[in-house]
């Protein structure tokens, strides 16, 4: 608090003339030279104090010159060449192409599928496939399948991420220029991105990361452009770049949820901006509110609209019911073409046969079958479970409580809330029953087994009695199919029929455990009736009900909730999964594919990664030291570059933090490729830091340093190009490329390796075999 206060106070005393409009240029500090502090630390510090009070980050306007256009064109062409080189190799399904190729096919077939990523990038693959002539029949079943044999236009499909990957390079150049750096530094930044092996690897394959990185970079670029237009608020260009930021952010979020980290980045940046603006007394309060409103519109409403829009496209295309749709709520399924259309009579009577379904979990129906409980402390009576699929064993008949009768002479009697009743399993005739025995899996004292009990000529006992409680409804409300949410309370044990969501062992066919729980909260003990039919009522005129199909927003909401759930539950044990702490120093890569004499192993350009990490550390250290020294009135200026460096590198360091730290909180399985958006941010800091440390050197020396850096990076790129482009190499070369012992590149695939030898032998024999076959 107090720190902010004093900063605010310091800013308050900035002379008026030194305001927003002049800040882009290097204005002469307005402190009069006569004011030397008697005991100041250094004379230079005293003179240039004013320049180093914390000021809002701010970039000068980028005047795009013709040489900029030439360089943009140049880097685009180079990047395109690098990204498209040997695009057709390997002609096999690589890594996650298994998923994303398949999903592209599903779009072309318009059949529903579920994936834990939002739809945009997958739809782009579908579009690329469509344009390239993919028919959606090949289903990308497993890694290594041959594309040529299946006639899949895979090069066309891979071209899409390659082009997007190439476009990040000119965008990098432009971003760096917009931050106020000279063309040489900007060129260096784009070179570092261009020859980053990891980025190259992932943009050559059908993976979601290339579109994600592209849209992330585009968002940051648009935001930087917007910042250069601070002095021309509400001009057409200003609006354009602001809106573009929002739109690109929406697209990035529609590719992968990782892009959600753009929200804290852009959000913090905006808050900082508005915080500075409110100090500007020349801006009226309503003017400030206008600024606020414009940002809310473009950075909150617009991305949301874009996100929803892409989902709208997604659901419009995928309108057919498919096997994946079973996991959805019935309301969602009802909204798909060809989905199960449940229609049932609305009223439920004593004597009705019903099928009841768990309400708050998509677990399934109350089920029983002719098999006994087999667990140790169980009763050995008939099993009662929850089963996900519709089945005759899910049918139950409602009967009056033990030792009571219902007068049905006036016609069927409706079931009401508060009634005590019994449920008879239709197929086996047993009653739903509970007693003081332990359930199969839950061991708590307050949980009891539920079984099917009864035999011929036995009228049952009072342990078959359950009280029906309709939730949020007064006593004696009549029970209705679909709409009534209810609980079943065992009258003797005072426990509720409860879905424990635990999977039973093989002897219960892996179905889900249901038990009776005392003092149970309603959430997992709530049920509803999906099907009700009374044998005596045959009239066509009975009122019927069905599930209300979900609207667009309902579908989006449920789909996103499912995505969140599956993301949380993604706890596989992939051998190449990596936790975030291993990413920044490139502890190891990810093996994508291996073939004869070559592999694809996603590894970054180590020099770029380590340099980026180092420059982040340098920035952090500088920031901390200078902030501490400022407080003691010792002002260092970093050769006049302080504001420029801090506002640009500071922004990208913040961006890196926003894209990196949150991963530590995620328990789900993570991979190296999750680091790429953060890596791009770090690469920018690397380029800016290079500029900072060379800006006071003579131009030839600076050029020499740049060339040397470029040469080293290119050399590393070349060294690892074998694993990036799946080029054939030897085992010796492979072993030599292992700079770190933790890099587990599979050298057995290389020429001279074990697997390569086996493969070549088998290839020869099959070739010989096919030769024989054709000749006969």
């Amino acid at each position: 608090m107090t720190v902010e206060m004093s900063q605010a106070a310091e800013q308050g005393h900035r002379p008026k003339g030194h305001s927003m409009s002049s800040r882009g240029k290097k204005s002469v500090p307005q402190v009069s030279k006569g004011d030397h502090p008697a005991t100041g630390d250094s004379k230079a510090g005293a003179v240039e104090i004013e320049r180093f009070v914390p000021e809002p980050a701010y970039f000068a306007r980028w005047q795009v010159s013709s040489s900029d256009w030439m360089l943009l064109l140049f880097v685009s062409v180079v990047a395109l060449v690098v990204r498209c080189y040997r695009l057709g190799v390997p002609a096999n399904v690589v890594f996650d192409e298994v998923h994303f190729g398949k999903f592209a096919g599903r779009y072309l077939n318009q059949t529903y599928f579920f994936d834990l990523h939002p739809p945009l990038a997958k739809m782009m693959f579908a579009l690329a496939g469509k344009l390239a002539g993919y028919d959606g029949i090949f289903d990308f079943k497993s890694i290594g399948l041959d594309y040529h044999a299946a006639g899949v236009p895979y090069v066309g499909m891979r071209l899409m991420p390659a082009v997007l990957g190439a476009l990040t390079v000119p965008l990098t150049y432009a971003t760096s220029r917009a931050c106020g750096y000279k063309p040489d530094t900007s060129l260096m930044a784009s070179l570092l991105v261009c020859v980053e092996n990891g980025l190259v690897t992932q943009s050559r394959l059908m993976l979601l990361d290339s579109p994600l990185v592209f849209f992330t970079v585009a968002t940051v670029f648009c935001w930087t452009m917007f910042w250069t237009l601070q002095d021309r608020a509400f001009s057409a260009k200003w609006w354009l770049w602001l809106a573009m930021t929002g739109a690109m952010m929406g697209c990035a979020m529609s590719c992968k949820w990782v892009a959600l980290f753009l929200i804290p980045l852009i959000g913090l940046s905006t808050v900082h901006d508005l915080w500075d603006k409110i100090a500007d007394r020349t801006l009226s309060f309503s003017g400030w509110a206008l600024h606020f409103g414009a940002r809310a519109l473009a950075l909150i409403a617009l991305p949301l609209a874009v996100y929803i829009g892409w989902f709208w496209v997604h659901f419009s295309v995928l309108h057919k019911h498919g096997p994946d749709a079973i996991a959805l709520t019935p309301e969602f399924q009802a909204a798909l073409d060809g989905g199960p259309q449940v229609t049932t009579s609305r009223d439920v009577f004593y004597g009705s046969e019903i099928r009841m379904r768990t309400t708050n979990a998509r677990s399934g129906y109350l089920h029983s079958h002719l098999h006994p409980w087999k667990h140790k402390e169980g009763s050995g009576q008939q099993q009662v479970t929850i089963y996900s699929f519709a089945d005759a064993n899910n049918l139950w008949t409602i009967e009056p409580a033990y030792n009571t009768t219902i007068d049905q002479s006036q016609g069927p009697v409706p079931v009401r809330s508060g009634d005590v009743l019994r449920l008879r399993h239709k197929a086996t005739g047993r009653f739903l029953h509970s007693h003081n025995k332990r359930p199969a899996l839950s061991t708590d004292k307050h949980k009891f087994e539920i079984s099917g009990y009864g035999f011929a000529n036995f009228s049952g006992d009072s342990n078959d009695d359950f009280r029906l409680e309709i939730l949020d409804a007064p006593e004696a409300t009549s029970l209705q199919a679909i709409s009534s949410r209810f609980r079943l309370i065992h009258t003797n044990l005072n426990c509720a029929v409860y879905n424990s969501r635990k999977k039973l062992p093989k002897w219960a066919f892996g179905q889900i455990e249901v038990n009776c729980m005392h003092n149970c909260m309603p959430r997992m003990s709530t049920w509803h009736i999906e099907h009700a039919r009374h044998p005596n009522i045959t009239s066509e005129s009975v009122p019927t009900v069905s599930y209300k199909p979900l609207g667009l927003l309902g579908k989006i909401w449920e789909y996103n909730r499912l995505m969140a759930e599956s993301n949380e539950n993604l706890k596989g044990d992939h051998p190449f999964a990596a936790r975030p702490q291993a990413w920044p120093w490139l502890r190891r890569g990810t093996a994508y594919w291996g073939g004869y004499g070559r592999v694809i192993y996603q590894l970054g350009n180590p020099l770029v990664w380590w340099g980026a990490l180092g420059s982040l550390a340098v920035f952090g250290l500088l920031w901390f030291v200078l902030a501490i020294l400022d407080k003691r009135r010792v002002f260092l200026q970093l050769g006049g570059q302080r504001r420029q460096y801090f506002s640009s590198a500071g922004f990208f360091t913040l961006a890196w933090l926003c894209h990196y730290l949150p991963f530590f909180l995620m328990p789900r399985e993570l991979f190296l490729h999750h680091y790429f958006p953060a890596l791009w941010m770090a690469i920018m800091v690397l380029a800016f830091s290079l500029d900072l440390f060379t800006c006071r050197l003579s131009p030839p020396l600076r050029m020499a340093i740049y060339v040397a850096v470029a040469a080293c990076v290119l050399h590393a790129f070349h060294t690892f190009s074998y694993i990036t482009f799946a080029r054939v190499w030897t085992k010796d070369a492979c072993l030599k490329a292992k700079w770190l012992s933790t890099w587990d590149i599979d050298c057995e695939h290389a020429i001279g390796g074990l697997k390569a030898t086996v493969q070549s032998a088998s290839a020869n024999s099959t070739a010989a075999g096919s030769l024989l076959a054709s000749s006969s």
Binding site: M1, G12, R281, H446, A496, N519, C520, M521, R523, R633
Partner: protein, 786 residues
């Protein structure tokens, strides 16, 4: 710790504060005479133009809507001395009396063990009879309970069974009274704290009345619980911190008074964190305030040597002193509990061997052939060598050998001679032979009679570079593969210079004679077929020297059973380190704490989540709810709780609003200094509330409504602070005393209205149905209970 030059400087002008005053005062253009700043500060005439860190915040006061108020009519004397006047002693005494009356009224009414007296009364008695127990809370508060029991003449035999009637010889009233005294002290402490925080007298009295008239704090002060000491030490911390801040702001640095308050803060921090771990929030609060204070000093350009002294003083008082208190509590804890008890197994075997009556304490020291031994791995965690009738699903398909951390009959192994001699000898009559270094033995599972063996033919199920270790009956395997050589690595007890294997003190390796591999416990757990126990493998000879030295191949005999060898007192041979034990017991406390996780699908009458505390949604029944029993209901004073919640939520919002105003230079604060005075006085109150409340949202464990009480104490004081702040400026403080009187009266009336719950209600709860203000209160019926 008081160097001469510092004393000097302190006397001549308490560095920071005066500079602050000078900088903020525009009219003064010369440094105060006597204060020598030139060595380290900017001359004042320049300060305003260039460096001014404390400018006037409202640039145009004439335009500011709210005109600055003159506080002089009600402001207190803010000098160092004389904050306590004679009437303050009278007020404090009166408040203490009132507090005694509310807390002690009918305190012995319910003659049964009530609420958590069942735990804490029992733990207190443990200190009297010396039995070691394990609990989630640190020992200080429980030792204070024990002190109360000692004074009340308890002999430690009554074990406080929940709900049981107190027998004749237990003077529970005196015990409750003593523990209640900590709760009594809360009220005068609230008053004294508020004085230090610059509240007006009447509002300070009001703050004390809020604490006095809160039903929840009152009812929790009436039983033998840990909450009273906890609240007391929390309040003490706040008081000391506030006093220290005042001295350090207006008084001399490093003066005696300054040191007293600083050390007092550290001491009470130590006490609060030794009472319950919730006290760690107080530590965080003081920590943040200290960093803030030091950072401000740093920015105010105080000389480096002064700055270093400030750092040193705080490190000593706020880090070392609390740590010493915490450690000392555990030291006393271990000293008092010298007998074996239910908590023994949580600590190391060495500790157990020291505890009187533990089975490890009394056993034969020398291990002889024919002994039944329990063998523990030196590698921390997996535990004792174990086998059971279940077999490996793959490999040799023989009986599994694992490591299991808990006591079990299946952990027992017979040590026989190697080769044929082992199976042929009758160990009940053969002459006693002791096992020495280098002997070859067979290790036979006591229950199943199968011997431990291994072979190159089968690899371990999880660690496939090692051999599988299994147990087999003589019919299943060749005899030669059952021999193991004992290689002594270390004799921890040095005085007996023999090569024998001793219980507890001899560390050895077991080398398989045929293959040369070493018995090793794996870091991996077996899957369900192995019951999640730790894998035991045999480490091949070929693996490097480094592996041979690691603790996972080292074993020792933890328990040695042989009826023919006389038992020894093992505490003579083993040594257990206090610090190791302390660290271990703290780890175990954390584990037990985390294990107290609630079932989200189960409704529990007692538990509540933090979001429900703020507005007192689920008060708690403390005892059985029969119609005739005396019933206590833990319900706060609703008016106070709701007002506190509103004030605490409102406070940060207003700060943000002020920050925006300051940023726009239209603040109602005349200077930053004036604002900082407000901030310094209220930061402890709101910060204390937030730090004692918000972290609970991240806790997975079972929570109860009284976990909110420390936060509530801060909140109640903040409520009074905000009233004071408002009424001081509103109409120039004309209604200040009136407001205090009215609020106090309202609190008192509501307290009386809910007092049947606080002092016990012995008629049907239905009769109090009118007091059910919210539908979630379970005064007479429960919404969810079945």
């Amino acid at each position: 710790m008081e160097p001469h030059n510092l004393k000097q400087r302190g006397r001549q002008g308490n560095g920071e504060h005066e500079m602050l005053m000078v900088l903020s005062d525009e009219h003064k253009d010369k440094p105060k005479p006597g204060a020598d700043y030139s060595a380290y500060a900017i001359p004042v005439h320049q300060a305003n133009r260039t460096y001014n860190a404390y400018p006037v915040l409202a640039t145009d006061t004439e335009n500011a809507k709210c005109d600055p108020t003159d506080f002089s009519a009600v402001s207190l004397d803010s000098g160092v001395e004389g904050i306590m006047r004679s009437r303050d002693f009278v007020i404090t005494a009166a408040l203490t009396l009132a507090s005694l009356a509310t807390r002690l009224y009918r305190i012995g009414r319910r003659a049964n063990v009530s609420w958590d007296e069942a735990h804490f009364g029992k733990f207190g008695a443990m200190y009297i009879n010396g039995t070691f127990y394990h609990d989630v809370h640190p020992p200080l508060a429980k030792m204070l309970v024990a002190l109360a029991e000692v004074i009340a003449g308890h002999n430690g035999t009554f074990n406080f069974k929940s709900g049981a009637a107190y027998p004749e010889y237990v003077n529970y009233t005196l015990m409750r009274t003593q523990v209640a005294l900590y709760g009594v002290a809360l009220v005068p402490l609230a008053y004294l704290t508020c004085l230090q925080l610059n509240l007006s007298r009447s509002m300070a009295v009001l703050a004390a009345c809020f604490v006095l008239f809160d039903n929840a704090i009152c009812v929790m002060s009436r039983f033998i619980l840990l909450d009273e000491p906890l609240l007391f030490f929390t309040a003490l911390t706040l008081w000391s911190a506030a006093s220290f801040q005042r001295v350090s702001k207006y008084g001399q640095q490093f003066s005696r008074k300054w040191w007293v308050w600083l050390l007092m803060t550290g001491f009470s921090l130590g006490c609060v964190m030794s009472s319950k771990w919730i006290g760690l929030f107080s530590v965080v609060m003081i920590g943040i305030a200290t960093i803030d204070d030091l950072f401000r000093k740093y920015c105010n350009l105080i000389p480096w040597e002064d700055f270093a002294c400030h750092w040193n003083a705080r490190v000593v008082s706020l880090i070392f002193v609390p740590l010493i208190v915490y450690v000392a509590c555990f030291w006393v804890h271990f000293r008092l509990l010298y007998k074996s008890g239910t908590g023994d197994h949580k600590l190391s075997a060495n500790f157990q061997a020291k505890q009187l009556g533990n089975r490890l304490n009394s056993q034969p020291f020398d291990v002889a052939y024919g002994s039944a031994a329990e063998i523990r791995s030196m590698y921390d965690g997996p535990g004792l060598l174990h086998s059971h009738i279940h077999r490996y699903p793959g490999g040799s398909h023989l009986q599994q050998i694992t490591c299991f951390p808990h006591r079990d009959v299946n952990n027992r192994w017979l040590l026989w001679h190697g080769g044929d001699k082992g199976t042929e000898t009758n160990y009940t009559i053969a002459p006693i032979e002791f096992i020495v270094d280098g002997d070859i033995v067979q290790i036979v599972h006591n229950i199943t009679g199968a011997a431990m063996q291994t072979s190159r033919r089968f690899l371990a199920p999880m660690t496939s570079s090692h051999f599988e270790v299994a147990a087999a009956n003589s019919t299943d395997w060749d005899k030669g593969t059952r021999d193991w050589r004992v290689e002594v690595v270390k004799q921890k007890y040095k005085r007996r210079r023999d090569k024998r294997i001793h219980a507890m003190t001899t560390v050895f390796r077991l080398r398989h004679v045929e293959t040369g591999c070493l018995l090793r416990v794996g870091r991996q757990r077996l899957p369900t077929w192995g019951w999640g126990q730790s894998e035991v493998t045999c480490l091949p000879d070929s693996s490097g020297k480094k592996n041979i030295k690691s603790s996972d191949v080292l074993w020792y005999v933890e328990h040695n059973k042989n009826s023919r060898v006389p038992k020894d007192d093992l505490s003579r041979y083993v040594s257990s380190n206090f610090f190791v034990n302390m660290v271990q017991i703290n780890i175990e406390m954390a584990k037990t704490n985390n294990a107290l996780s609630p079932d989200v699908n189960k409704y529990s009458v007692l538990e509540s989540r933090p979001e429900s505390w703020l507005f007192l949604k689920y008060p708690m029944r403390m005892v059985g709810w029969s119609d005739t029993g005396i019933k206590y209901y833990e319900i706060g004073n609703p008016i106070l709780w709701w007002a506190t919640a509103l004030v605490c939520i409102f406070y940060p919002l207003r700060l943000i609003f002020w920050a925006l105003q300051m940023q726009r230079k239209c603040s109602r604060w005349r200077s930053l200094r004036e604002f900082l005075d407000f901030w310094d006085n209220s930061k402890f109150l709101w910060g204390g509330w937030a730090l004692h409340y918000i972290p609970f949202f991240f806790f997975g464990r079972v929570l109860y409504i009284h976990h909110y009480l420390p936060a509530l104490y801060f909140g109640l004081l903040l409520l009074a602070f905000e009233l004071d702040h408002f009424f001081k400026s509103w109409r120039r403080g004309r209604y200040l005393h009136m407001a205090a009187l009215c609020s106090g009266f309202l609190a008192f009336v509501v307290f009386l209205y809910f007092s049947p719950f606080t002092y016990g209600w012995d008629r049907p709860a239905k009769e109090l149905a009118g007091r059910q203000w919210l539908s979630t209160w379970n005064i007479f019926h429960d919404l969810y209970a079945m």
